[in-house]
């Protein structure tokens, strides 16, 4: 839709027209400023916590494990430069050979939600999948944090 609008503006004599191709969805997913009837609603980005243990691909599992034990979660997230999320180290991997590197035992490409995910939709997703936590990331794949089910409203019904 926006390419057609941009083209139409040019035909109307506008000289410098820019098409924000990724649009409102991208803006919202980055938790950038908005206005409107629903602008004040709390979303996943508001509840995302950064108290999750993270590590690099090359780290020894034995070095990561104590950080996970000191966190409220039973897993660690593997990140690259820019906090780009690459994988998850589950408890079974953490309790395995301490000399393995994170890259060798991580679960690649963990599922994430965007910062603008509505809290009711988030609760529904967690309940449907039987999950206690969900990872929040930016459209660029950078880790934002983790939302815990207990911090959302009680399930309906």
């Amino acid at each position: 839709m926006s390419p057609r609008a941009a083209c139409r503006l040019e035909t109307l004599g506008f000289e410098q027209v820019f098409d924000y191709v990724e649009g409102k969805a991208d803006w919202l997913a980055r938790s950038l400023p908005t206005e409107g009837e629903r602008a004040g609603e709390r979303r996943a980005g508001h509840l995302a916590r950064r108290d999750i243990a993270t590590c690099r691909l090359s780290e020894r599992v034995g070095d990561v494990h104590p950080r996970v034990e000191a966190s409220p979660y039973g897993f660690a997230l593997v990140v690259a430069d820019g906090d780009v999320l690459l994988g998850r180290l589950r408890r079974a991997a953490l309790e395995g050979d301490p000399d393995r590197r994170a890259e060798e035992v991580m679960e690649p490409g963990p599922s994430t939600v965007r910062l603008d995910t509505a809290l009711d939709a988030l609760a529904e997703r967690l309940d449907r999948l039987g999950l206690k936590t969900v990872v929040v990331s930016t459209p660029d794949g950078a880790l934002v944090g983790v939302v815990r089910r207990e911090e959302l409203a009680a399930p309906r019904g």
Binding site: M1, S2, P3, R4, A5, A6, C7, R8, L9, E10, L12, G13, F14, E15, Q16, V17, F18, D19, Y20, V21, E22, G23, K24, A25, D26, W27, L28, R30, L32, P33, T34, E35, G36, E37, R38, A39
Partner: protein
Amino acid sequence: MASPARVADVRGLLAAGAQLVEVLPEAEYAKLHIEGARNIPLKLLDADRTADLDPGEPVVVYCHDAL
């Protein structure tokens, strides 16, 4: 031809005073839109509705996403 813009480009353009137009229907705009955007639905985009815009200044248009 219009220039494609990523979010960093858009933020820079807006900081420099660019005009911002959401071309989605009015109801969608009313619910949630980018701060500072005005609404001119694509179906209503004509000379009259754009009369308040400055054709000599940059204008950024957006809809929901690339799809």
